[in-house]
């Protein structure tokens, strides 16, 4: 394609080019909103129908890890926004610094997610044949708080009395949990790839006050992924916590 510097031939000015790219990215994000929206819809319908099982499922999640990850992700959004600002004011070294910080925080998020997934395998909470919500309360593991586990057992037993099919309905919760957080994590992995590409460009000094469209566009994507998590955290981790 014909291009002069950073300006592609079918645009007249860099501003027009950036405006077009921003609009295009937002149109893509609309499709993403509806894509995730479908999962939130499935979640809403199932949670309404099987609220006891969803509450028990939610209470097995580690709120400290979840809340910590929320903080990490919002911090990464801040560093991403700062990377855009650095490019706009021409601080090239800061662009690299903030992009690397964003990538680092994103990686921490994914690492914590991996720890959480591992826990679910250990606690027999993966939908399938060995799924059992009674397993963990009756099989304490090293490092478990026994008092808390006894409370959990009491809660699970009570729930079984209300909903004897809780092991079926709980699998719906965990299918949605893995589906939604997994899809979110996939977006994070793609975002990390995009960040690597930006970091490479920033080392080459590509992003300047005149041309920083890629940083801005990837930023839009990264913030969108952050927004998805802003909804996922309360919906998955915070059901029925007050019991």
């Amino acid at each position: 394609m014909h291009r002069t510097g950073d300006l592609y031939g079918h645009f007249q000015t860099l501003e027009q080019q950036k405006e077009t790219a921003t609009l295009g990215m937002w149109i893509f994000l609309v499709t993403e909103v509806l894509f995730f929206g479908g999962m939130f819809l499935a979640y809403t319908i199932n949670r309404t129908a099987f609220s006891t099982a969803f509450g028990i499922g939610s209470n097995t999640l580690d709120i400290k890890l979840g809340a910590g990850n929320t903080v990490v992700l919002i911090m990464s959004s801040l560093t991403m926004a700062m990377a855009v600002w650095s490019a706009q004011v021409g601080k090239k070294k800061l662009v690299s610094f903030f992009l690397i910080a964003t990538l680092g925080l994103g990686t921490v998020f994914l690492g914590v997610k991996a720890v959480e997934y591992k826990q679910k395998f250990d606690h027999h909470l993966i939908p399938g044949r060995s799924f059992d919500m009674k397993y963990h309360p009756t099989h304490p593991m090293a490092g478990d708080d026994l008092k808390e586990l006894a409370l959990e057992k009491e809660e699970v037993d009570k729930a079984f009395a209300v909903d004897p099919d809780i092991n079926f309905h709980g699998q719906l919760y965990f299918s949605l949990y893995f589906g939604m957080t997994g899809l979110h994590a996939l977006h994070m992995i793609i975002g990390a790839g995009l960040l690597l590409w930006l970091i490479k460009g920033s080392f080459a000094g590509r992003f300047t006050p005149q041309y920083n469209t890629p940083v801005e566009i990837v930023g839009l994507y990264w913030h969108f992924v952050d927004i998805v998590w802003i909804y996922l955290f309360p919906l998955l981790y915070l059901i029925d916590r007050h019991r």
Binding site: V30, L34, I74, M75, S77, W85, V162, R241, H242
Partner: protein
Amino acid sequence: MSEHIVSPKIYIGIFAALMLGTGITVWAAFQNFHQFNIVIALVIATIKATLVVLYFMHARYSSKRTQLVIVCSVFWLAIMLALTLTDYTTRSHETQPGVSHLARPAASHLFRV
């Protein structure tokens, strides 16, 4: 078009507001507001999301055209949620506890919930 540069001060302010929102969400989840727990959680999440869109994603400083696209995304999402939920909430379900759906043969429960 003159590019609007959002200052780091605003970014940090928004970040602080988002942190505060996260704190309030966690706190509120441990209080018993009965059926309003979910409402409170969603209101806080929506305020947080709006702040991210307006400031981190620069929607406040974007062109009218871009803003229209953003509003459209919410609008279409609302259509999807509202129309599907009006259907689900007005059908009769056997969702009382103790009535098994998944214990039935594989296909039949799919048409219930």
